[in-house]
């Protein structure tokens, strides 16, 4: 019996760690997707931004984020700042079936995902260091606070507890994706559109991305990493029951992405008469976001249809945001925000444990909290150091003004 338990402990811990590594790889997916969808003159900066935000997320979640989210007297793991004590034995201290430090590792990559969502929306015009300053606050405080009300099980400022209201968000359509999009929306509203994106008479100018192979590779990487994102959120593997659950989650995650891609591809063909690649890529991601709130209870057909609904909503949302002159170069607010909300609202369709009212209250709680606090933080950063590069720097590209280096120097006349 003891050996069986230890084997399960080892297997669950190993599964957690491998899924965490897959989610970490999503940071690479976001980086490639965003680098592909911006212009060549803004490539170095977006690469710098993405890998830096990943590192900042890891440090801030260690310093205080994990403690804010799961600590305190009622906290699940009674974690303290700087993770002191997390090295302990999960069995002896908490009755866990996996190592506590594996839990931290799995959680930390989710924070980075939320922050990655912001970077694409504010691309090509934001100051690098303003963005990184915001990353410190989002990953150290804003995200962990709403995380404590949801996965952490704490009450919202002592007023109500989301879990009691029938709120359920399996892997984070709302907690991770919509939260990232809410922070992005606050930033974009203060930042304004890229120069030349919208004409005075309301026309939308296309600003084509520089590298569509890279954007497609990024989408494939995200699709793959998502198996860790949703699959790992089952939190266990070492029993027939949990192994079955994991397999269903993998199956449904994949099905939803496929549904989202095909739906977006077909809708774009109907609307624009062409197969619009970047809309299709956004469609696949929308399918993934839509299923993330509940990938364990739908059938494969339902998952495909939920994903397809996400793919349709994302195309319409991208067009609508452009009408409102909210400039989002990669479609992050539509993919993660609008479809994140859709994902939350789809949970009660297949999961009896969730209520539409609970989902709505949960979504509003997350959105209002993240949007308002982000707006405050962006405003402070704007007042202190400014958030937007000068018009001249934007024209020349933020690679030179922020990083002093072009991504493709071969073509710029440098020697050798």
């Amino acid at each position: 019996m003891e050996i069986t338990f230890e084997l399960g402990y080892a297997l669950d811990t190993f599964y957690f760690l491998m899924c965490g590594a897959l989610v970490m790889w999503m940071a690479a997916g976001f980086t490639m997707l965003e680098a592909g969808l911006v212009r060549a003159k803004n490539t170095t900066e977006i690469l710098t931004k993405n890998i830096s935000l990943y590192a900042i997320s890891c440090i801030m979640y260690m310093v205080c984020g994990y403690w804010v989210m799961y600590g305190g007297p009622d906290g699940l793991h009674a974690a303290v700042p700087f993770l002191d004590g997390i090295l302990g034995d999960g069995v002896a201290e908490h009755g866990d079936t996996y190592a506590p430090s594996a839990d931290f590792f799995f959680q930390v990559v989710f924070v980075a995902t939320a922050m990655s969502i912001v970077s694409g929306a504010v691309a090509e015009r934001m100051k690098l260091w303003a963005f990184l300053a915001f990353a410190v606050v989002l990953t150290g405080f804003i995200y962990p606070m709403e995380g404590s009300w949801t996965w952490g099980g704490q009450s919202v400022f002592g007023l109500y507890t989301l879990g009691d209201l029938g709120f359920s968000d399996f892997a984070g359509s709302g907690i991770v994706h919509m939260a990232g999009a809410a922070a992005a929306l606050a930033g974009v509203l203060l930042l304004g559109a890229r120069k030349g994106k919208y004409t005075v008479d309301g026309k939308v100018n296309a600003i084509p991305g520089a590298n569509l192979p890279m954007a497609t590779l990024g989408t494939f990487i995200l699709w793959m990493g998502w198996f860790g994102f949703n699959g790992g959120s089952v939190l266990a593997l070492a029993s027939v029951e949990s192994a079955n659950a994991v397999a269903v989650v993998f199956l449904n995650t994949n099905a939803a992405a496929a549904g989202g891609l095909v739906a977006a591809l077909v809708l774009a063909r109907i609307l624009f008469k062409k197969a619009d690649l970047t809309m299709a890529l956004n469609g696949a991601l929308a399918g993934l976001v839509a299923i993330t709130a509940e990938p364990s209870t739908p059938t494969a057909l339902q998952a495909t249809l939920f994903g397809a609904l996400g793919g349709i909503v994302v195309v319409l949302s991208i067009l609508a945001l452009d009408k409102l002159k909210i400039d989002d170069p990669v479609g992050a607010i539509s993919v993660h925000g609008v479809v994140g909300f859709l994902g939350l609202m789809l949970v009660p369709v297949t999961n009896d444990g969730a209520l539409f009212s609970g989902q709505l209250i949960g979504a509003l709680t997350i959105f209002v909290w993240v949007f308002v606090t982000s707006l405050i933080v962006w405003s402070i950063i704007k007042a202190v150091m400014g958030i937007r590069v000068s018009e001249e720097e934007e024209f020349a590209g933020v690679d030179i003004s922020e990083c002093g280096l072009e991504a493709y120097p071969d073509f710029t006349g440098g020697r050798v």
């Binding site: 939308v204 100018n205 296309a206 600003i207 084509p208 991305g209 774009a268 609307l271 624009f272 062409k274 619009d276 970047t278 809309m279 195309v315 991208i318 067009l319 452009d322 479609g331």
Partner: protein, 112 residues
């Protein structure tokens, strides 16, 4: 001596090269260029927004020849590059004052 410059459709480059070789002219310089004439550009689509591409890709050839070869050369280029559709390109002929082969120092007629 003359310098013949031709702007042609990129996919016709191999045909033109063969036609030029057949009349005994060896040596040309090729540049990828962009521009527009009567063909104008075309529209492309990105994330639901159409945009105009004004400059289309073309290939520019530069060939230096003796005066008595010019007519045959122009005829070969036109024959090989023609599709009959708009955007086939143009041929320009200039007077060439002087030429030097760098390796040997030969000049003018001996250099081309």
């Amino acid at each position: 001596m003359k310098l013949v410059t031709a702007i042609i459709k990129p996919f016709k480059l191999d045909d033109v090269r063969e036609a030029i070789s057949e009349i005994g002219i060896d040596g040309l310089t090729v540049t990828e260029v962009k521009g527009f004439g009567r063909q104008k550009g075309h529209t492309e689509l990105y994330r639901g927004a159409e945009y105009q591409v004004d400059f289309l890709p073309k290939v520019k050839l530069e060939i230096a020849v003796q005066d008595d070869h010019v007519d045959r050369l122009v005829e070969a280029i036109v024959g090989a590059a023609k599709t009959g559709k708009i955007g086939d390109g143009k041929v320009f002929v200039y007077d060439l004052e002087h030429a030097v082969r760098i390796r040997t120092g030969e000049t003018d007629g001996d250099a081309i």
